[in-house]
């Protein structure tokens, strides 16, 4: 790849970053809403934990940190197609994307990375400050976001969450490409995002699913998006598990990228530009 090409991707990345960082008031409002949701979820889990005598598969302390991480990184945890690309396919403007002298898959992949990371960076820090610092100050220490148990766990989380981002963006790009098949593609995107949302641990942490579902969850690619990195952070999984988690995430990222590229080349062959 030439220098010119890399520069083009960097420009796309920084332009989208600057655009997304404009919405500060919306970010503040979002923070409040996510705090509210986090508190409701924690109270629900608290009620469950208090009304059982059996030992749950996750300590309450770990579960609470899991919930806050989910709220802090929520902007990253969506695998839906890019709304602008959807509009482009509808209006026919996608034809312009095809004319650009750069690799379309890489362009859409970089776009996905930018649109997932910029809002996340903006929201994650204040959310963590609230959950880790302010909650204990107002006497709700048992609801706080606890730091990873060891430095190794923190490093392992850092590595696995980056791979979660790469895996997630491969999914988003796949969704974008599917849209080239307009109506039937729309249906596929719905199925894909529903599965990802449910089987990633975004609805409830995966260890809380019934035991007989666990083998299915392990076989699917989605646990690497949310559940595995979060459990490394909370200490539910040891830092040493990072190697196997990373290889799983990278394996599925490669599979999804190859599949996405193949699908894109097929889509290019049969593309019908909508609109006039």
């Amino acid at each position: 790849m030439t220098r010119l090409h890399l520069g083009a991707y960097r420009a796309v990345l920084s332009a989208r970053f600057r655009m997304l960082l404009q919405y500060r008031a919306a970010a503040l409002a979002g923070l409040w809403t996510q705090i509210f949701f986090g508190l409701v979820l924690i109270m629900i889990y608290e009620a469950f934990y208090r009304s059982t005598t059996a030992r749950p598969p996750m300590a309450f302390r770990e579960l609470v940190s899991y919930v806050w991480l989910g709220q802090a990184l929520l902007a990253m945890l969506s695998w839906n197609a890019d709304a602008e690309i959807r509009a482009m396919v509808r209006s026919g403007a996608v034809a312009y994307e095809l004319c650009r002298p750069i690799d379309l898959y890489a362009l859409w992949y970089v776009r996905a990375i930018a649109s997932r990371t910029a809002p996340t960076i903006l929201r994650a820090l204040p959310m963590c400050v609230f959950a880790a610092v302010i909650l204990p100050l107002v006497g709700l220490g048992e609801w706080r976001l606890a730091a990873p148990p060891t430095a190794a766990a923190a490093v392992a989380f850092g590595a696995t969450i980056v791979c979660a981002l790469l895996l997630g963006c491969a999914l988003t790009t796949l969704s974008n490409i599917t849209l080239l098949w307009t109506i039937s593609g729309e249906g596929a995107v719905i199925l894909l995002t529903t599965c990802a949302t449910f089987f990633s641990g975004l609805i409830i942490p995966l260890p809380l699913f019934p035991d007989w579902v666990q083998p299915i969850l392990r076989a699917l690619p989605f646990a690497g998006l949310v559940d595995l990195p979060f459990r490394v952070f909370t200490g539910h999984l040891p830092a040493a598990a990072a190697a196997s988690i990373l290889s799983r995430q990278i394996f599925w990222t490669i599979v999804l990228v190859l599949f996405g590229r193949w699908l894109l080349s097929r889509g290019m062959r049969r593309i019908v530009v909508q609109g006039g």
Binding site: L28, A29, F37, L39, M43, S51, I190, T197, I204, F209
Partner: protein, 266 residues
């Protein structure tokens, strides 16, 4: 033309417009059905693991879940005009509404009768149907009417919340997402019986934003169980009235907002 006929006219135009894109409507409905479906699957998984939550079983939780889903999707269908109101103010479009010889509230209701929550409504009905079949409720005419009144009161309450959200757009068009905590957050909160939450949280949702009065209290009466919070039965039956009362209060705030409205001039 009276107000009700005019609203009927608005609604039928809006429905015809949406049905022009049948495939897209169908996809949206299926998508929402699935997305809310996995939310309930999560609740099922938790109750499967823990057996109960403070003594409430899956059918009982499903009752509260279904009730609030039905209520919210109905309320959302009629309030699209309030939902997009910030844009109406920003563009100066609101001036045109003020010039027409009809109330602004009626015109905003008439903005659109949206079908975008149809999937959620259907899913809510399914879950409610499951609750009715599984929860061993002694049905009677008064109890059925109480369910209907709870839904009606709840729709009033959510409409009130959306009117407040729209009113705040007179002061600022930024960051209106704060209201989502009460609407979307309130829905999530009401999917479980109110008594599982901490006392300060419960009090807020019984007195300030009385969501508990339109779901939890009538729900306890219909399920026919003694309330762990100890509310007397007559109060449980009267509780849905909190919805229309809340709405009236919100309408006062709206009138105040309209009186001090200054156009953006664009």
């Amino acid at each position: 033309m009276n107000a009700i006929r005019l609203y009927g006219r608005y609604a039928s135009i809006s429905l015809r417009g949406q049905m022009a894109y049948r495939a897209s409507f169908l996809m949206q409905t299926i998508g929402q059905f699935l997305l809310t479906g996995i939310e309930f699957l999560g609740i099922w998984a938790l109750l499967n693991r823990f057996g109960q939550i403070k003594g409430w079983t899956l059918p009982e939780v499903a009752f509260f879940y279904g009730l609030i889903s039905i209520t919210w999707s109905l309320a959302d269908a009629v309030t699209r005009g309030f939902d997009v109101f910030a844009g109406t103010v920003k563009s100066g479009e609101f001036d045109r509404l003020l010039l027409r010889p009809r109330s602004t509230i009626l015109q905003l209701f008439g903005h659109e009768l949206t079908l975008r929550r149809m999937g959620r409504l259907i899913q809510g009905l399914f879950v409610f149907g499951f609750a009715v079949a599984a929860a061993d409720i002694e049905w009677s005419v008064p109890r059925v009417s109480l369910v209907v009144l709870a839904v009606a009161g709840g729709v009033c309450l959510f409409v009130g919340l959306l009117i407040l959200e729209a009113t705040s757009a007179f002061w600022t068009t930024e960051g209106l997402e704060v209201w989502n905590a009460f609407t979307y957050g309130g829905v999530t909160m009401s999917q479980y019986p109110l008594d599982i939450y901490r006392p300060w949280f419960r009090r807020f949702f019984l007195v300030v934003v009385p969501l508990g009065c339109i779901s939890y209290l009538p729900g306890v009466a219909v399920l026919g169980r003694p309330d762990p919070l100890g509310t007397p039965v007559p109060l449980q039956w009267a509780a849905p009235l909190a919805g229309p009362i809340f709405l009236l209060a919100c309408l006062q705030v709206w009138r105040f907002g309209v009186r001090r409205y200054q156009s953006t001039g664009s």
